[in-house]
């Protein structure tokens, strides 16, 4: 494929960057996530976590089951500080 393929839209991480890390010897999803910030942006990996897992699996020859899949952390959805603090999220 020509040009750049975006894997993580929040953090603007390309397939090429991930493949480069795997070529350097990184084969662990948790470590690749933290080195690239792939799936650490506002969507929290809801799109890219599975894409990232597929890339790592296919390039390292491991099965998805063998990979350590990062957990989702709370909150389930981004939330404004003011809403968390007990105010109204839509209050302006």
């Amino acid at each position: 494929m020509e040009g750049k393929t975006i894997v993580c839209r929040c953090e603007d991480i390309t397939l090429e960057e991930i493949e480069e890390l795997i070529d350097l010897g990184y084969d662990d999803l948790e470590e690749i996530k933290r080195l690239t910030r792939c799936s650490m942006g506002p969507c929290q990996g809801r799109t890219c976590r599975n894409l990232l897992a597929q890339v790592v699996a296919s390039k390292t020859g491991k099965s998805i089951d063998e990979l350590h899949i990062p957990t989702y952390r709370p909150p389930a959805k981004n939330i404004k500080m003011t809403a968390l603090a007990g105010g109204d999220e839509d209050e302006e």
Binding site: N78, M81, T82
Partner: protein, 382 residues
Amino acid sequence: MKNSAEIVIIGGGISGLATAYNLAARGMKDIIVVERGYIASGSTGRCGAGIRQQWGTEMNCRLSKASCEILENLEEILDYKRSIEFKQGGYLLFATTEKEVEQFKKNVALQNSLGINSKILSIEEALEIVPDMNTEGVMSFAFHQKDGHANPFQTTFAYAEAAKRLGVEIYTYTTVRGIEVKNDRIESVITDKGEIKTHRVLNAAGGFAKDIGRMVGVELPLKPERHEILVTEPVETILGPMLMSFSWNFYIQQEPNGTFIMGYGEQDNPESQGVNSSWHFAQEMARKAIRIYPPLSKVRVVRQWAGLYTMTPDSQPIYGSVPGLDGFYIAAGFSGHGFMFGPITGVLMAEYILGEEPEIPIDMLDAGRFERGELIYEPSVV
């Protein structure tokens, strides 16, 4: 997996990996690092990413200054191609009681005498640095420009990559099950992946260092505590320094990528190795953050998590070995500042293990100080 080593380092966080690198750089061969999760999966990768030199004891000032000077040049030292996201936006400490005002004056005098150019700021002077903060109830501030931030993952991976290039073997997802001792000498480390013969072990296991000590019959006065943190979406850069208060119990910093990271410590935390998140923390943290720094009210929280502080009775680390047990070394009990001390921990522990004179004398930080009653209390810990 290799079945023998010159030293087995238990813990793939900043302390373990910085020591591994420094030992290898000084010529030691056959170094193995054993990590139960992935690199920086414990306290290092869960920390608040702050780097500060404003401490209340001479020892902590000297350790943190030396550590910060290494961080300033770390990418070159380790030939790291990525960025460790080092930022020196300063730490702005809030004094909210007369007692704290006096403590900060003492701390600043001590820091200045050791070459740390911190200073006391008035409300007006502090508002010039952070115009949008709420200073209600604040009496004065302490500020040091060279304090700041580094990315714990990038920093630890920088050490891991440099260590590997020098031949260090790192076994992740490998758990230590036991340590064999014969005639008061370390004989081997038993992991869930196999046994490694060695006469030297470094216990750099963070929140699990107490468990590792017990494997060789050493009871370390360590108390792991769960501390929580949250991070926001990235927004434009509006906040230079870390905002921090011991009396109001919070820290808030904007990271170089634009996200805000913040946390506080619960009072009277129970001993725990759990790292679950709580709703209570998110709510209370949001309230504190909005009150102190109102521009945060519209910023969205993206993620929260927890990690372990491993407290000692005097909030200072334990460095050294144990009398009567040959080859067992300790770098643990960092009491919430293991990441920022990591670079100097690596140097000092490598020198100590190799029998050299450490560049900062660490005798007084040995595990025996608690029995001797020679504690050196750090007054300034969140």
